[in-house]
């Protein structure tokens, strides 16, 4: 699972790529939790995710809950069709804040 972390407009943006399954979800979880442990509001970009299984979804849920405990923002960006169908199956599409892009998220403050 190639991933990239960038900082933009005060957010840590974790870009996940490819299939997020049990072979790499522990790494995804670690990266997300590290951003939150640095007290950064965190957005996970799923636009290049081609598949996500329940272990990948669990990493996102843990990020969401950890952020909540720390009073930090947590959301998803550009969720791909493949990832959205799995989030819908778990009925999490209404739980996570989802934005088409960082621009859309920033427009919320405008």
């Amino acid at each position: 699972m190639p991933y990239k972390i960038k900082k933009d407009a005060g957010f840590a943006i974790v870009e996940l790529t490819g299939d997020i399954d049990l072979s790499c979800s522990p790494e995804a979880r670690k990266v997300i939790l590290e951003c939150l442990s640095d007290r950064l509001p965190t957005l996970v970009d799923l636009s290049a995710v081609t598949y996500i299984d329940s272990s990948g979804v669990a990493s996102l849920v843990e990020g969401y809950q950890t952020a909540k405990k720390k009073s930090l923002e947590f959301g998803l960006l550009g969720v791909s069709e493949a990832a959205l169908s799995v989030l819908e199956l778990a009925r999490l599409d209404k739980v996570f804040p989802i934005y088409a892009s960082l621009k859309e998220r920033l427009a919320k403050n405008a």
């Binding site: 399954d21 072979s23 299984d53 329940s54 272990s55 849920v61 843990e62 969401y64 778990a90």
Partner: protein, 139 residues
């Protein structure tokens, strides 16, 4: 024992790095059989999650464990059988969580139930191991 009329038989180790190739083979079979896009997606999710359950709960992370996947056609249904050779697992103990409970685990079994029409679990007779049998209507 694997049956001769299986459409697909895969034998692989309980290594999460094998999941992608298993998904690819299941997807290819679904497409070859003319399943709808949603049916193919459901089959891939169900097989992936059942394999993960075996890796995590039966073999408890031991990547040397063996898994056998067989898919057969029975009229308008596909029968998917996954077998492991680990110590008996009480699958009732790893049932799905209620969706309103927001916690990281417990989604896998829910995903299986949501994507196939029938799912049953059992122990192999006369030897150590477990099976998961799933059925899905495709026509």
């Amino acid at each position: 024992m694997p049956s001769k009329n299986a459409l697909l038989t895969l034998r692989f180790q309980a290594d999460p790095r094998r999941l992608r190739s298993v998904r690819n083979r299941v997807q290819a079979l679904g497409e070859k059989l003319g399943c709808t896009k949603q049916q193919v997606t459901d089959l891939v999710i169900a097989v992936n999650e059942a394999c993960m359950n075996i890796m995590q709960h039966a073999y408890k992370g031991d990547r040397a464990g063996r898994i056998v996947l067989e898919i057969r056609r029975d009229g308008g249904e596909l029968e998917i059988l996954l077998t492991d050779f680990a110590a008996p697992v009480e699958y009732r103990e790893i049932g799905p969580r209620a969706l309103h409970e927001l916690r990281p685990g417990g989604l896998g079994t829910y995903f299986i139930q949501a994507t196939v029409d029938e799912c049953s679990y059992g122990h192999l007779e006369g030897q150590s191991g477990n099976y998961v049998r799933m059925r899905k209507q495709i026509n």
